[in-house]
């Protein structure tokens, strides 16, 4: 908990208009027989320069939320997106695919989960990075684009970029590749970067380097970062605020300090309890059971109740709303008890 954002956290209402505000986002996936709701009732907003974490176990709908923001689901028969995504005063759900394309990479960039597979193996990396400014007409010539690419490679810490731009992805180590992916995201000079578990595939020391890099770049360019992770340590160290997601729903949302100090939702509490804390010797408590598969998510009631020690009759019937203070909201019938 050493690093904090330069700006202290402020209540939402007093801040300038949000960069991104998501309201009632619902993503359904088509199965053979019906539409399965994979993401439900997701609402949040982000400011410029903010690093927001989206936390949860794998399969809870984090990545799907991110892809919905990029308009990568719903434009085909596989899924359907409902709700509102406002980005810089534009309603993204109303945009055509062509308009969305102009936004992707240019205004909202994506840094993907697995650097090992995110780079196209058959093209030199420089060309892949240069593709972004070239596609979005940030440069007039291919040479300029190449220059931009090399500059970004340099900025993300790749030595000798002019030479290495001509290399193919397999010639880079995992950490280097993630840097390349990040530089690919940044080369369009976006306002929002969605980083989908950017460090899971890397080992711990590299992890820290990459997150430091993201952090620094945020400071330099002022872009916002939506960091998707399952790692609370990462959240604690690098993020401003965090949302905890379970079975497609946001169950708790708070500034990072508040969340860590005062976890309210039983799932959040369990999550924290299952992570070792340096300096504190206590037994780790794994969460009993496992997150439900998409088709097993109960159609009503709280999806966590099966694994929750505090489950009660109400949990069987209704999903609690996300309520609470302006900064700390939680969706649990037990919150009154806690409070």
């Amino acid at each position: 908990m050493t690093r904090r954002s330069p700006r202290e956290f402020e209540p939402e209402k007093s801040r300038p208009p949000a960069l991104l505000s998501v309201d009632g986002l619902r993503v359904s996936l088509r199965s053979r027989t019906r539409m399965l709701p994979a993401v439900q009732e997701v609402s949040f907003s982000m400011q410029r320069g903010e690093i927001l974490a989206l936390v949860g176990e794998s399969g809870c709908g984090k990545s799907l939320t991110a892809q919905a923001l990029l308009g990568l689901v719903g434009k085909n028969s596989l899924g359907q997106v409902e709700g509102s995504i406002r980005f810089k005063d534009r309603e993204l759900t109303d945009l055509s695919e062509r308009e969305m394309r102009a936004i992707r990479g240019r205004e909202i960039a994506w840094v993907s989960q697995d650097p090992m597979t995110s780079l196209n193996p058959v093209y030199p990396v420089g060309a892949q990075i240069a593709e972004v400014p070239w596609l979005h007409q940030l440069c007039r010539t291919r040479n300029q684009a190449r220059g931009v690419a090399e500059r970004w490679m340099d900025r993300v810490g790749i030595p000798d970029p002019a030479l290495r731009a001509r290399d193919y992805p397999f010639a880079f180590s995992g950490g280097m590749r993630q840097r390349l992916v990040i530089s690919m995201g940044l080369s369009g000079e976006p306002d929002l970067i969605i980083a989908d578990e950017p460090t899971t595939a890397l080992d711990v020391t590299i992890q820290a380097q990459i997150l430091d890099l993201l952090h620094d770049l945020r400071a330099q360019t002022g872009c916002a970062i939506l960091l998707i992770t399952h790692d609370l340590g990462v959240v604690a160290q690098w993020c401003d605020a965090a949302m905890v997601m379970y079975a497609g729903r946001i169950v708790e949302k708070a500034p990072v300090g508040e969340l860590l100090a005062n976890p309210t939702h039983p799932y959040t509490q369990n999550l924290l309890a299952s992570v070792p804390t340096p300096g504190h010797r206590r037994p780790l408590q794994p969460i009993p059971g496992q997150a439900p598969a998409l088709e097993d998510i109960p159609s009503r009631g709280c999806p966590f109740r099966e694994r929750c020690a505090l489950a009660r009759a109400a949990c069987e019937v209704h999903m609690p709303d996300l309520v609470g203070s302006a900064v700390h909201r939680v969706a649990c019938w037990d919150r009154e008890v806690k409070a």
């Binding site: 892809q67 990029l70 990568l72 062509r98 394309r101 102009a102 936004i103 992707r104 990479g105 240019r106 960039a109 994506w110 993907s112 989960q113 697995d114 597979t117 995110s118 780079l119 196209n120 193996p121 058959v122 093209y123 593709e131 972004v132 596609l135 979005h136 193919y168 397999f170 010639a171 992916v181 690919m184 369009g188």
Partner: protein, 314 residues
């Protein structure tokens, strides 16, 4: 890279040796020999022996093989027993036809298979997919000689759009040449197209699930760029491998197709050699075709390396 090629070439040597051995042995199992066929009804032991002696066929078989092999190594495949023409010259005369036939068939197969396979993968489970898969299975099931006959009936006999056989040299009459080649190339290429459609679809499906493709979409690539640039080249890698394997089919199939369309290529040469019991020629053809097959596969591997940079440097 050079080491890679050298290694591949070295590995090919025992195989080539084996091919020559098989060709030599097989050809000698064929009842009747060049002398008997040349003399036909006028065959007598004495004259047969005389001709065999002239052609060195009176030597013990291992000796014949040794002599033949040593000459073959210096590029001399001997002389056709029947026409007296050097085998290499006969091959050179016929090669352009087969080469043109095979490459036209490949060209046709690629032109047909790559877009269809891609469309099928992109529209998985919908009608373009069903169409492509039906072509993919049906194309493999239609006997190429039957297809050739039907094509002749339809386009040559009924519609009169193409000649029903024979060969016109490319440089003598390019249009005529194209007209003589188009039907056989189609008949020969359909099965290859079928295989390639299936391969292209499968590999495209594989590629479409890859992270770098989602990454490319997230960069703002449109479908053309996405499929045409990012997915295409990756999907091509298995297609090339399969194409290399198909060369064997092409060389074999050209025997039948050349016979149906009366194209004077290597395949027809092989049939003539069998018909005339022309030992030297037949073993020359088999060795040549086997070598060509190996070399083409080597080329395909090199192409493969070109498409897939990891191999290039590895």
């Amino acid at each position: 890279m050079i080491f890679y090629i050298a290694r591949r070439l070295l590995l090919a040597i025992p195989v080539l040796f084996g091919i020559s051995l098989v060709a030599f042995a097989l050809v000698r199992l064929v009842p009747g020999d060049t002398a008997t066929v040349m003399l036909g009804m006028q065959y007598t032991e004495a004259r047969g022996e005389q001709i065999r002696a002239e052609m060195g066929l009176d030597q013990p078989v291992p000796v014949q093989y040794a002599i033949w092999l040593s000459r073959a190594l210096s590029g001399d495949l001997g002389q056709s027993g029947f026409t007296g023409q050097p085998v290499t010259r006969a091959l050179r005369e016929r090669l352009p036809v087969t080469l043109q036939l095979a490459s036209s068939a490949v060209l046709f197969a690629l032109v047909m298979a790559l877009p269809l396979g891609m469309m099928a993968a992109v529209n998985r489970g919908r009608w373009p997919d069903h169409l492509a898969m039906t072509v993919g299975v049906a194309g493999l099931s239609v006997p190429n000689f039957w297809l050739g006959i039907l094509l002749i009936l339809l386009f040559a006999r009924t519609l009169g759009w193409a000649p029903s056989g024979g060969f016109i040299h490319l440089f003598e009459d390019p249009v005529g040449n194209l007209r003589t080649m188009i039907l056989p190339a189609f008949a020969l290429g359909l099965a290859v197209a079928a295989v390639l459609i299936r391969t292209m679809r499968a590999s495209m499906l594989d590629v479409l699930g890859q992270e770098y493709l989602r990454m490319a979409r997230a960069k703002g690539c449109g479908p053309l760029r996405l499929y045409g640039v990012h997915a295409f080249r990756n999907a091509l890698v298995p297609v090339l491998t399969v194409l290399g394997i198909q060369v064997g089919y092409l060389l074999g199939g050209s025997v039948v197709i050349e016979s149906v369309f009366g194209l004077p290529g290597i395949g027809l040469l092989a049939l003539e050699a069998i018909r005339n019991r022309d030992y030297v020629l037949l073993q020359g053809v088999i060795v040549f075709v086997g070598t060509a097959f190996l070399l083409i596969n080597l080329t395909v591997d090199l192409l493969y390396a070109w498409v897939n940079p990891q191999i290039r440097y590895g």
